[in-house]
Structures are given as C-alpha cells and as structure tokens.
Subunit: 121 residues, 2 copies
C-alpha cells in the first residue's frame, strides 16, 4: 500500500491547544511535528540535539540569551544543541518542528508546560 | 553572534536550475535543501535513508513501483529507505528536502543527473 501525502493544513485543523507538538511523520530516527504557539513558553535547552523551527503561518519570536530572533511565515531557524531559548508569539503562530524522536518540548526544564512527547495526529 | 532566520523564498530566488538541491541548513547530521523540479527525474533509491519531500510551491508527482503519489503545495511525503522512486513535475515545482548530510540526489543510480552533493546557498 502506498502511504498518503501529509497535508499540513489538514493536520493543523485537527488540534487547537498551544505548546503541544503533534507528530505527523517519521524520517529515520527523527520526528516532524506541528505545533501552535501563543503567548510565552519557558526557557529551556536541548543538550542532545539541534532543533528546527519552520513558521507555516503567523509569526513568532525565539528569545536567546544574546537577543531575539523574529520569524515570519516561510522562515526557518535552527536552535543549536544546548542553547537556551524561549519561544513566544503575540498572536497564534503555526509551526513545523523537526527533531529526534523522543525530544521533549521543554528539554531540560521539566514542568507544567511539558507535553506528552509521542502524540501522533 | 545570533544566526539569522532562513527565508525560503529568498533562498529559492538565488538559483534557477532544476534537479540540483541546494543546502540551506544543517540540523545535527541532516541537511535541509531546496530544489526545483521540472520534467522527469531518474528512477533511484536511497538504501541507507528515508527521504522527505515538502512541496513549497506548485505540484509534483513521485512515481513508485506500486503507483503514483501526487503532491501539492503544503503537502509532504516520505519515501522510505530503499524504495525506488522517480520524481516528476509538469510545471516547475519548488520543494524542501530533508535527508542525512551527504545524501546524493540520484541515490544508487549514478549518472548525468547526479548533482554536487554539498552546495550551500
């Protein structure tokens, strides 16, 4: 059986909560996830991996210790492994994340914002 | 120094040739590449890795031995490792590819369509 294409808009229509990434695809040991940002996330880092952010709709900011990165739709940014960052978005922003399977959204900062790390949609 | 966001449209404006992926970012041991498809590519497979296709503009088809996958803008598809495939596009189509650094565009089918595998833009 041939697997089907994955339509990003369709997948985004299936959930509404913020800061809770949903897996849409696996490539080798990596997951592709969709997430909706709104408001401020927590400072954290991923000591074991780089993390890719690709903005699909809206805009977001990623605060780093040295400054702020502003991202619009059609722009991507890679936070290097171990680099502290805090995502935020004034209005709702839709993004795709790419990171190793098992990567937790809050990295080394476990807390109430920590999401289930293996939810597929 | 903070690295800059990567704007996909800006990067796409920097080249015009078809079937010649350009690297725009590295995440761990993986490369994110942009490519323009037009016409027919060659049958090939990548015995060592899955390969991600995300259509950014236009539409494309990926022929598999069992049938054809049609992809529109905003859709992605993952060709599993070792699966023979032949991308094609009637009109020019812009895509993002994600695959391990060093992956050659023609996989196990070396030939005149084989592109330089380490070109950044």
């Amino acid at each position: 059986m041939i697997s089907q294409p994955i339509n990003l808009k369709e997948k985004l229509s299936l959930f509404s909560e913020h800061w809770s990434p949903k897996i849409i695809a696996r490539m080798n040991d990596y997951h592709f996830k969709l997430v909706k940002f709104k408001g401020e996330f927590v400072w954290h880092s991923h000591p074991e991996t780089d993390e890719v952010f690709l903005v699909l709709k809206g805009s977001a900011e990623i605060l780093l210790r040295e400054g702020k990165v502003s991202l619009a739709a059609g722009e991507m940014f890679i936070v290097p492994r171990g680099v502290a960052h805090k995502p935020q978005a004034t209005r709702e922003c839709h993004l795709m994340l790419v990171e190793p399977a098992g990567t937790v959204n809050t990295g080394d900062t476990d807390g109430e914002r920590t999401a289930e790390d293996n939810v597929w949609i």
